[in-house]
Symmetry: C2
Subunit: 126 residues, 2 copies
DNA sequence: ATTCTTGCAAACTATTTGCAGAACA
DNA sequence: TGTTCTGCAAATAGTTTGCAAGAAT
């Protein structure tokens, strides 16, 4: 099951930190001299997503992946550099559970993402 | 500035309710006998998004649009039929503001989406 | 007549897939 | 040797754009 390049890809994603696109990962791997194909990057990421090894997000039509092994949580993401910091907030989880119960919805899941410009990035040019 | 078909497209989106893709809107318009082009649908939606006339979300690679004029809020979306109900929760807004302040991030925005299967849809087949 | 908008088709971008060969057991 | 994994290139799917023609003023 474990693809041959899984390790390599996961560690690259971990090293980069935060949310990265498949294309971005591919470029970094290439730059590092590891000639992995873009298709393989996508294949590994798909496996990881299915198995819960990465969290995904979306930015303007492209899927972003983040190496997370800390279970369910949310992120504060820098839109400039992609860095992310984890947010774990029971308060929010409780609120979601309450909303779900009250609404009659089943199989409820949620996405929470806070985006901004981190302290070490220049202000967005706009 | 207002595109000729803006009204038509907005009302279709409003009638359908919830989050819909550009393609979905286009099909409905066609079915209703209004021969608007897909490109126009995208163009109008892009304008609306820029001007805050619609909220956007993403599902598996495609962008979804929802007609909203109620200012900032979040949604509880049915993954089966696309229906959405508004959630307005000061609790969450306060939390986001606090996180932003404490983190040193600037220009902070956030996305919160709660997904599930609504009471009138069959359970997801999985 | 001039300006703005539209539809079509071609162009793009991100992602997926078919397939022959390489890597591994 | 048989199976799995990979890279490449071709195929997809959603979205954007160039452009000539149509609608509005």
């Amino acid at each position: 099951m474990a693809r041959r390049n899984e390790q390599l890809i996961v560690s690259t994603l971990t090293d980069l930190g935060g949310f990265r696109s498949a294309q971005e990962l591919h470029q970094h791997l290439r730059a590092a001299g590891r000639a992995v194909g873009l298709a393989t990057v996508y294949r590994v990421l798909a496996d990881l997503e299915r198995d819960g090894g990465v969290e995904t997000s979306t930015r303007q039509g492209e899927t972003l992946y983040c190496a997370c092994r800390t279970g369910h949580h949310h992120h504060l993401v820098c839109v400039m550099c992609g860095t992310s910091r984890d947010l774990e907030v029971d308060e929010i989880e409780r609120w979601v559970a309450a909303v779900a119960a009250e609404s009659g919805f089943r199989a409820v899941s949620h996405t929470i993402e806070v985006r901004g410009v981190c302290a070490s990035c220049p202000a967005p040019s706009r």
